[in-house]
């Protein structure tokens, strides 16, 4: 007997790990194909998770840009009650007294109408509001002035930046009146670009803004669609929103009054982003499935081509578990290389997508471990069957194949 017999039967860890690596060289181009499948699967998982993450990040960033003191109220007709119109005006001074936490508040009636200017007709959003909207939203003017408390009965209008471009209005001087539903309005101001904010339910840039009292000229039954307010302290926002809701509720019988604050909307958005991520994850799982089937295919071929080797190894003392681990570790080695390459590829693809979308890129920390781990698990799952079938071969059957 050779001297110093080992205590434990079976190949050492080093042997267990190095054997599959040297066998991999045999696979050649086929290994590359299997690797490509896993890399594509992992890249899909990583890229999609990162794109989802960045999309959510971008939406949240936009929201946060608004400021955290804004709250938005809305009236929804309660189902099953006699439909009565929501209020058409709001005594903002009275609201501010009743809800002392509010710095400013502005009602808004959103309507859409055809606006005629210089003989051309344009479909535009019409917003009936008060002079307070300027302060609530922090609007800036490019030309002229905003609506004032004294404009309540006048036929003045302010154009959003996009709307001004659509109507081809460059300045307020030497600008003729515009017609909305047969009434003529004088343009007294043009807003600077305000930017889209998903939190604010009114499209200021694409609208023409009128004094809320004048909305009756445009529609016979004007109803406030939303109320936008700015609180004094962001920490007390939830309580102030509650107080505002309690104040508004009796003013709109038959309607459910909701006052939302950014946090709730942000939560909702995050939930939505998560749903989106799950959807992307579903897509990525399909890619992984395809990658896994690729690995399985290569392994089944590998096992059937190396039956004689299996037989020889068994004859000289390899146990079924040694054979299984040989093939499984070969697949895992392929998967590790494929997953790492795929992870890099996925990050690069997501980075490119995010930059092309004009967002700023931030890496999703969970995407890399999730992508790599799911690739490895998929390989383990699909590699188990071929590895077991190799291990369960009878030595004599395996050896007979020459």
């Amino acid at each position: 007997m050779p001297d110093a017999q080992p205590h434990r039967y079976g190949p050492s860890l080093r042997q267990t790990l190095s054997d599959p690596l040297s066998s991999l060289r045999l696979l050649g181009r086929r290994a590359l194909l299997a690797l490509l499948g896993i890399a594509a699967g992992c890249a899909a998982v990583v890229a999609l998770l990162n794109i989802g993450h960045n999309a959510a990040h971008e939406a949240i960033r936009t929201f946060k840009g608004l400021g955290s003191e804004v709250m938005v109220g809305s009236f929804t007709a309660t189902p099953g009650t006699v439909t009565r119109p929501a209020p058409a005006t709001l005594d903002t001074q009275h609201v501010k007294q009743a809800v002392p936490g509010l710095r400013e508040i502005a009602p808004a009636i959103l309507y859409s109408a055809t606006v005629r200017a210089a003989g051309q007709a344009y479909p535009l959003s019409v917003i009936g509001t008060s002079h307070e909207l300027e302060g609530v939203l922090g609007l800036r003017l490019r030309h002229g002035r905003f609506l004032s408390p004294y404009d309540q009965q006048s036929t003045y209008a302010v154009l959003g930046a996009q709307a001004a471009r659509a109507l081809n209005v460059g300045s307020v001087s030497n600008q003729g009146p515009v017609a909305i539903e047969g009434y003529l309005f004088e343009i007294i101001g043009i807003l600077a670009d305000h930017g889209h904010n998903p939190l604010i339910p009114i499209p200021v840039d694409e609208a023409i803004l009128l004094p809320i009292e004048g909305m009756r000229r445009i529609t016979p039954t004007p109803e406030i669609t939303s109320i936008i307010a700015r609180g004094r302290q962001s920490e007390r926002l939830a309580e102030d929103a509650e107080t505002l809701r309690d104040y508004l509720a009796p003013k709109a019988p038959g309607h459910t009054v909701q006052v939302q604050i950014p946090q709730q909307l942000l939560d909702g958005l995050e939930r939505q982003a998560r749903t989106f991520s799950y959807l992307l994850l579903g897509l990525a799982s399909i890619s992984l499935l395809v990658g896994g089937v690729g690995i399985m295919n290569v392994m089944v071929m590998n096992v059937s081509e190396r039956r004689q080797e299996i037989g020889i190894r068994m004859a000289i003392g390899a146990r079924p578990r040694d054979i299984a681990s040989l093939f499984l570790l070969e697949a895992m080695a392929l998967a590790v290389v494929g997953a790492l390459a795929g992870a890099l590829l996925g990050v690069a693809a997501a980075w490119m997508f995010v930059r092309l979308s004009g967002w700023s890129f931030s890496l999703s920390m969970t995407s890399l471990p999730l992508g790599i781990a799911s690739s490895l698990l998929s390989t383990l799952f699909f590699g188990l069957h071929p590895a077991r079938s190799a291990a369960n071969l009878q030595p004599v059957t395996a050896l007979r194949d020459d």
Binding site: S12, A315, G317, P395, D402
Partner: protein, 249 residues
């Protein structure tokens, strides 16, 4: 070819009177075919003493290779009992059978059965790696074996770079490296020219003679069979003792 046999202190191979290494009791073997099953061995009983050399001859398809596979724990009998050194191996688990093959049996095949991508030395070291030896120790012991079969200068060549005789000597070194009690050879000279065949046979016989390794050889070659102590004939699945060779008896 002569062997330089170092004293390895192998106690297993000391022949004692009545010391049965291998015992087969009523072994039968059938295998399933598309139209039912075919029987290859019928009620075969056999005892092989430690240190004996034994030839199994018979026509193609007579069942002699099946018999060798059953003795080598590569195949399982349908019925009967197989004892190796008094230990019943008939229903041993795949794990135990693998371990026993590694520690007690060395195989020499007609087609050499070396792993093509490993060097001669790595092929010889492989059984020791499965036994749990470290890489360096396994390589050291393998090199001793490769030196014994006279191929030390070819140790780092791949099997494809070796002649048939050299490959078979490497295969013998691999069978010997674990110091088995029993060497099973299936047509070991079948793929070799007569000169090389003679060398390989001399190597096996020297092992048997000088180290007391029990030798069971399946062969077609009558002249080879006559050089061994016993000759068994397998005919239609039945085992007949043809002779204890008069030269050796």
């Amino acid at each position: 070819m002569e062997l330089a046999v170092p004293n390895t202190g192998n106690n297993h191979t000391t022949a004692l009177p009545g010391d049965n290494l291998l015992q087969l009791e009523g072994i039968s073997h059938t295998y399933p075919t598309t139209v039912g099953s075919r029987s290859t061995l019928h009620n075969v009983s056999l005892s092989v003493m430690r240190g004996q050399s034994c030839a199994i001859v018979g026509a193609s398809g007579s069942g002699k290779s099946t018999l060798l596979n059953i003795i080598g724990l590569l195949d399982q009998p349908t019925s009967g009992r197989l004892l190796l050194d008094g230990q019943d191996m008939t229903r041993a688990t795949a794990h135990i059978r693998a371990q026993t093959r590694n520690q007690r049996i060395g195989f020499v095949f007609q087609s050499f059965n070396l792993l093509p991508r490993l060097s001669a030395l790595e092929n010889v070291a492989l059984p020791l790696l499965y036994r749990g030896y470290g890489h360096t120790e396994a390589q050291r012991l393998a090199l001793q074996e490769v030196t014994r079969v006279g191929l030390v200068n070819r140790a780092h060549h791949r099997p494809a770079e070796l002649s048939g005789g050299q490959r078979q000597r490497i295969a013998i070194a691999r069978a010997l490296v674990g110091h088995p009690d029993l060497i099973l050879a299936d047509e070991p000279t079948g793929n070799l020219d007569s000169n090389t065949a003679g060398e390989v046979l001399a190597l096996l016989q020297a092992l048997n003679r000088e180290q007391g390794v029990t030798l069971v050889i399946v062969t077609h070659d009558e002249s080879l069979a006559q050089t061994l102590q016993r000759c068994l004939l397998v005919k239609d699945g039945h085992l007949l003792e043809r002779y204890p060779n008069p030269v050796h008896a």
